[in-house]
């Protein structure tokens, strides 16, 4: 009578023992399988190539040696996946900041400021509760010189018994004084895999 539950329990324990254990992945030594969707390696590749090209082009080097102020504009996700485009733009921002050539403003953005605190702390002016010596003065925020915008595209194709998924990461850097795109890049990421794998 108890045989069946015991056999069941033993089977479950054995199966649990065979399961792949959860483990940390080191991005510097990740040879894991490729996914049809965009993963962190794709964003890293696109950001590396973009920053490489941006620095080499001289588009982010101010002639007087000062730093440019950049604002992140819209990066449209035109793929079948739910992508937070910050995964891409943050890597670019961090690398440009480290390069010493560009600093990003968080005080202005298309959908409002990325960090609303720059405006909120200015509401403390004339507040009797705050020492006015520490309150930000008028005219201290710095307007951006450059704007980073872009688009991530996805195209799916049948390739024989396989499917081919093409991603195109397009980025532009606009000089806000002139409205001219002073630097542009397109990074294609092409993947081919079995038809039963999903790319959304």
């Amino acid at each position: 009578m108890f045989k069946l539950p015991i056999v069941f329990c033993i089977s479950m324990l054995m199966l649990a023992g065979c399961a792949t254990p959860t483990r940390y992945i080191d991005p510097a030594a990740d040879d894991g399988p490729v996914t049809m969707t965009m993963d962190y390696r794709d964003f890293e590749k696109a950001a590396t190539e973009a920053v490489d090209d941006m620095l080499a082009s001289g588009a982010v080097s101010k002639p007087n040696g000062e730093r440019y102020i950049m604002v992140v504009s819209r990066v449209t996700n035109d793929t079948m996946q739910r992508i937070d485009t910050d995964q891409l733009t943050k890597k670019i921002r961090v690398a440009l900041l480290r390069s010493g050539k560009v600093v990003t403003t968080t005080a202005v953005g298309l959908d409002g400021a990325e960090d609303e605190m720059s405006a909120r702390v200015r509401e403390l002016r004339d507040s009797e509760e705050f020492d006015q010596a520490g309150v930000q003065r008028k005219g201290t925020l710095i307007a951006p010189d450059l704007s980073l915008s872009g688009k991530i595209l996805q195209r799916n194709h049948k390739a024989g018994k396989e499917q081919q998924v093409e991603y195109y990461i397009q980025l532009s850097l606009t000089d806000l004084a002139t409205g001219l795109a002073t630097w542009e890049v397109e990074t294609p990421i092409i993947k081919r895999g079995p038809n039963d794998s999903v790319s959304w």
Partner: protein, 134 residues
């Protein structure tokens, strides 16, 4: 007299100990780092035919280190590459990420790859070519 000799001997011993060679502090100049590292698994099917470097002038007056290398494939295969950048003190200068870039090569094909240093203070680099595991 006997004490005098002992004091002189002791003083000489101390002086000699002071002159002993101290282990040199590890400096950038002391690090003998290879600029090109190729894993044996890759070496059998590709040959690095060029490894060039130059400093490219920037509008602000700074220069950035840029490298270019060429590889010729003796057979079809994949490899992964990464450049690590170093400042004059031999310290690593971070780039965008730490991952390797994967490339596929066809027999007889020669491909050229370039990489630009993430900061003007980069003076040295190490290029590593390895076989992707998958």
């Amino acid at each position: 007299m006997r004490f005098q000799k002992q004091i002189i001997a002791f003083s000489c011993a101390l002086a000699l100990a002071g002159c002993a060679i101290q282990p040199p502090a590890e400096t950038a100049a002391a690090i003998d780092r290879e600029q090109l590292q190729i894993d044996p698994e890759v070496n059998y099917f590709v040959a690095v035919t060029e490894l060039l470097s130059q400093r490219i002038a920037q509008p602000g007056g700074e220069t950035l280190l840029q490298i270019q290398y060429a590889i010729e494939a003796r057979s079809n295969g994949d490899l992964a590459w990464k450049v690590t950048w170093f400042d004059p003190n031999g310290m690593v200068v971070k780039g965008v990420g730490e991952g390797y870039r994967k490339v596929s090569l066809l027999t007889g094909q020669t491909r050229y790859f370039t990489a630009t240093a993430p900061h003007a203070r980069v003076t040295d680099y190490q290029l590593h070519l390895r076989e992707p595991q998958q």
